[in-house]
Amino acid sequence: MPKQSLPSSKSQQEDSRQIGRRDFLSVAGAGLTLGFFLELVPRVAEARMPGIAGPPPNTQVNTFLNISSAGFVTLTIGSSEMGQGSFSGLAQILAEDLMVNYNTIQTVQGVPATGAPAVGNSIGTFGSTVIRDNYWSFRTAGAAAREMLVSAAMNIIGDQTRANYTVSNGVITYTPTSTNISYGLVAAAAAKLPVPANPALIPDSQFQVIGTTVNRVDIPSKVNGSATFGIDVRLPNMVYAVIQHCPTFGGYLSGAVPATPAGMIAVVPTQVVAGVGRGTETTGMVNAVAVVGPNTWDTWQAALNLTINWTIPASSSNLNDQTFINQANAALTSNTPYAANGPNTPPTLYTIEGNFAAANAAIAGAAKTNSATYTLPYIAHNALEPMNCTVNYVPGVSCEVYVPTQVASSVLSLVNQLTGLPLSQINVHTTYLGGALGRKIEVDFVSQALQVAMAVGKPVQLLWPREQNFLRDQYRPMALVQASAGLGASGNILGWSYTNVSASILGQRGYPVGASGDSQATEGSSALPYKLGALSTQWISHPSPIPVGFWRSVGMSINTFAVESMIDELAALAGQDPYAYRLGLLTDPRWIAVLEAVATLSNYTAGPAPGHGLGMAITTYANSIVAQVVDVSLVSGNGYDGQPILFQVNNVWMALDCYLNVNPGQLQAQLVGGMVHGLNAALYGRQSFVNGAAQFSNFFQNRVIRLNQMPQVAVTLIPSPAQSTQSTPIGGAGEIGVPTLAPALANAYFKASGIRIRTLPFFPNAVMENVAGV
């Protein structure tokens, strides 16, 4: 079983030098070390991750492969492990071309590098990117190292004929004499050789590791309590800080900082740091205080009992659920079209595709039309490990940060910004993340921990109690989608008009939103694969300043619900089965194959069991295509919470085409996990606001499913090609399980009940059962 260790030292990257993107670097030291980039391809094509602090100067190599003279293979990885299995996947990819046993690779959490020269590299784990963006560089790194080791062996043997050498399990064999040379024996000599530019890769037909379900490297530590999450960091003399935000968005501390309660160490006001605040959170505003004390519990109780005088601006009284809906409806008709040099203050209308007038003229002339409004609420992230960050700051000397972050390079930049320390005196240790779901992209909690550490002069761990996580989130935006379509005689779509009104995630991060709108809001609503006739896709920015952020699958989860519900409504209008109807609208063979695969898996054409309904949905994200079929059966009566039960979700079948299946077991895990995330949101997910104050503070009202609500699941994967090519993009899997669940569920419920659900969640008043005595 491979070992996994945290955290790592920065020393091994200190003498790195760079020879170019996608090239590898031989680093002086024990054995052979190759340093290279872990690529980050942002979710947003036109820029690096918007709203993420720019990469620090001199950030450089962030990932290392080392083969020691003792033959140990160590892979130091810059990205974050939050349960998606990326450490294991990267080691698996490397093992293939390095030709070593996957189980012998030790993976180590890396740190954001600070070597020269600057190339604008960053480390981020989001956008379903880790495997798909690094597949070819990891394969090439493995092959390059292998060929350097073989060259070193050739020099010892004295025969430069490459065909006379084979490699297996980290051992080079000189076949004429059956002489074996281990990697470790030639690692030091290999380090002195040039790095080959185009080493030969293993043909796909000879894969031994890629495409197999290997065990994850991190799982042994996650069954015995030894895995170190951020909240588990314990430093000598560490004190504990607990945050208490102003309960109202837009509010700030007025007057004096509350006195330090008995038994506590300090009360530290924390302000919104430049680049960190969203929406109502203005730079310089003190929107929270941190109580510092000897342990979490006493400090938490002191924070709860603290009397804090907040100033609430009058504008906060406009932040209400119904106001947001009213504003969205008004924005549909009262808005200003985007202008290149205009202020583009919300509500601004962005034309994403097609022509609104032409589409609506086509719809008006159609024999059958359908118009629908879909409404989705704000939803909080619900990572089970709450926000936390541990800082050991020695003024003028060093700053060590231990944090469950998705973007360690943003943390590095922030520490540099707040402390003024040079990068060489800062260490960011990425811990395991106990769930992240996009919330741990943000660094607001890191900025607070740094402020507290700088104030108290002791190592400090800052925690957001669960309630603070729900009440002070950067929520998935609420959205209102207005969709209309007109059908011809055969059910063909003559006109399609789609307008999404939602707040801009990028806009709240100061990112310039151009004529094509906010990509995070529009993804999943444009470039649809269906034959839609005269087409219009629009996005209107919503004026709400409630902080919004990246929620696993982001805009896909909003638009896929509306688009795939609408397609289902049109099938019903045309009097056709939704599966056959979709097939008739599709032309892309990849989409058709995925849809057929899920239909086969679910035995869709056999029809539902009596009293059941089958619903389907399909979408694409991160170069992957996913289709789901959901089976529900109607249930009468009320649940323990007094809410109608309505239905039971019995089965979810999923088909995935991600082009290349590295680890089938992990793809299955990610798809099922994403589906559950989508199910939690579709059934229960929403945050409510009254006069700017979020209302739902714990899992009681932010209900999620327990084991007894888990549907049966089955996943089928479209097979990898016989020989993959670098010109075909590899698909990601971290988010794609999420977006299709809600529409497939709503479509299934419609089939079973005849009732069309257009407003999520299904059960806005549900509460979680507190099961006693078990």
Binding site: V223, G435, E769
Partner: protein, 147 residues
């Protein structure tokens, strides 16, 4: 006013001093004894990430006061087995259950308690209420079915 208690954790008597006898066992374990395998999730006996065994019965340590467990036998994930050899731990590895892993200590302690009560397979699953946000439930069911 601080109070000192002796509690038995993983077979060892531990003396802890708290300012408030209502301090939940969770924070005694995590902050005073350094046993961080037991996780904080909700603090309200909802998610069960904090589950430990008290006299062989699963108990949510976030709502169990330290003074209430004096004299009891407490087992945390660190004490479940010396080398991850408990059948539930082995099944968790075999079926590759964890994703982020944050809830899994609590899942395993709940399962271990059900096993101590003589339950097997589906009877364990029927009593398993721990939340998993990653959605590992189907693999938990596979693993529990072997126990």
């Amino acid at each position: 006013m601080s109070t000192t208690y002796t509690i038995n954790v993983n077979g060892q008597n531990q003396t802890v001093t708290v300012n408030n006898p209502a301090m939940p066992l969770l924070w005694v374990l995590r902050d005073l004894l350094g046993l961080t395998g037991t996780k904080y999730g909700c603090g309200e006996n909802l998610c069960r990430a904090c589950t430990v065994l008290v006299n062989n019965v699963p108990r949510q340590s976030c709502t169990t006061t330290v003074e209430s467990v004096v004299g009891d036998t407490i087992v945390t994930i660190e004490g479940l087995s010396p080398n991850s050899s408990h059948p539930a731990q082995l099944a968790w590895i075999q079926y590759q259950v964890p994703q982020c892993g944050y809830c899994q200590s609590g899942q395993l302690m709940s399962v271990a308690g059900q096993m101590l009560a003589g339950n097997h397979g589906p009877n364990i699953a029927a009593q398993l209420y721990n939340v998993c946000i990653c959605g590992t439930y189907s693999r938990i069911l596979q693993a529990v079915d072997t126990l």
